[in-house]
């Protein structure tokens, strides 16, 4: 009989150990806990069209390499690192095969069209859409590292030290790049006069 979710340990490390012993339910629970973040990370790198399959790939790779997790970082951070590598590989492959490495926002579908209707007034809603489109455009203009850190912080909702661990940089670097990114975005959005 498979254990109910309540019977599963809260600690990812213990779940990981059970997953290593071949307990599929334990790995399923790890997927459940981390899939949202992994998807959000993939979304930032490869765009909406590929985010789902990149996230799926990430978990399959993680499962096959479960024994290489050494517990030095958090399990979630380890997963994010695999997700980033998976996405970077995909982007490289796109480039190698001559496909255009499109912006993660420019994947043919209008992300704003699916935006939840937060503003009741159509005019207000249109303005909201315009503001988001402008933000997306300004993000695209950021230097690569700044954009990456900004998106991991605000859209993948990662902590500063997790970002540092995932990218293999110092926390101070993350803070500096994030500050520069926000400052530049505020300036380009006209919030700094």
């Amino acid at each position: 009989m498979t254990p109910a979710r309540d019977d599963l340990p809260q600690d990812d490390g213990l779940l990981w150990r059970r997953a290593c012993d071949g307990e599929e339910t334990a790995f399923g629970e790890l997927v459940r806990r981390h899939q949202r973040r992994v998807w959000l990370v993939c979304r930032q790198y490869v765009g909406g069209d590929e985010a789902d399959s990149a996230a799926q790939d990430t978990f399959l790779k993680a499962f096959r390499r479960l024994d290489s997790f050494d517990g030095r970082a958090q399990f979630g951070t380890w997963l994010v690192r695999i997700a980033i590598n998976t996405c970077v590989d995909r982007l490289r492959r796109r480039k190698r095969w001559g496909q255009r490495v499109e912006s993660s926002e420019n994947d043919g579908d209008d992300p704003l069209a699916r935006m939840p209707d937060g503003a009741a007034d159509p005019e207000e809603r249109a303005m909201q859409r315009q503001a988001i489109a402008r933000l997306v455009t300004c993000e695209e203009g950021l230097p690569g590292r700044q954009r990456e850190i900004f998106r991991l912080r605000f859209y993948a909702e990662m902590e500063l030290d997790e970002i540092a661990d995932s990218l293999g940089v110092h926390v101070g670097t993350v803070k500096t790049q994030l500050h520069r990114a926000v400052h530049r975005l505020r300036r380009e959005l006209g919030e700094i006069r």
């Binding site: 599929e24 790995f27 399923g28 997927v31 459940r32 899939q35 949202r36 998807w39 959000l40 979304r43 909406g48 590929e50 985010a51 789902d52 399959s53 996230a55 799926q56 790939d57 978990f59 399959l60 499962f63 492959r93 992300p111 704003l112 699916r114 935006m115 939840p116 937060g118 909201q128 503001a131 988001i132 933000l135 997306v136 912080r153 605000f154 859209y155 909702e157 803070k175 994030l178 500050h179 990114a181 926000v182 400052h183 975005l185 505020r186 959005l189 919030e191 700094i192």
Partner: protein
């Protein structure tokens, strides 16, 4: 209290980076500065909401992952990836199968060595053929060609 925060301090607050207690205190009291911070944060959270609207069905995604893990032979490659590899493997499999079939059945077997026919048997067959009057082409010669019996009597009694 200071009149307003610097842009740098507002950026620090908007980025969610640790700011000094003095800055937090100011933001709590100053509408203008707190509006600057909130404006940026609201825009970012609206963008995040638009991303959440794209999110897949987590349950379905989880099932897909677990199904693939349960079937290790199901190669997990996205649609646009690995096609050439599968084609190459298929071609290699066909070639291997063909080589196997050829090794098993197709190689030229050495011609069987026929057992040597005894000379007596050949002579007997020739005699039988020559004795047969019906063999075409021998009609004209038949009066001149002695039969086997005549030949035998000639050999046993040369005088006759």
């Amino acid at each position: 209290m200071r009149r307003h925060l610097t842009e740098d301090e507002i950026t620090t607050a908007a980025a969610g980076l640790a700011s000094q207690a003095e800055v937090d205190e100011h933001l709590a009291a100053c509408m203008t500065c707190s509006r600057s911070v909130d404006e940026f944060r609201r825009l970012v959270s609206e963008r995040r909401a638009s991303l959440e609207a794209e999110m897949p069905d987590w349950g379905a995604q989880r099932r897909r992952i677990l199904v693939q893990l349960g079937e290790p032979w199901a190669e997990v490659v996205p649609l646009h990836r690995g096609r050439w590899r599968r084609t190459l493997l298929a071609v290699a499999a066909v070639v291997l199968a063909a080589v196997g079939v050829w090794l098993q059945f197709g190689r030229q077997a050495p011609a069987p060595v026929k057992p040597a026919v005894p000379v007596e048997q050949i002579l007997a067959e020739v005699d039988a053929t020559l004795a047969d009057d019906q063999v075409p082409g021998f009609e004209a010669l038949s009066p001149m060609v002695p039969t086997a019996d005549e030949m035998e009597s000639m050999m046993t009694n040369p005088a006759s």
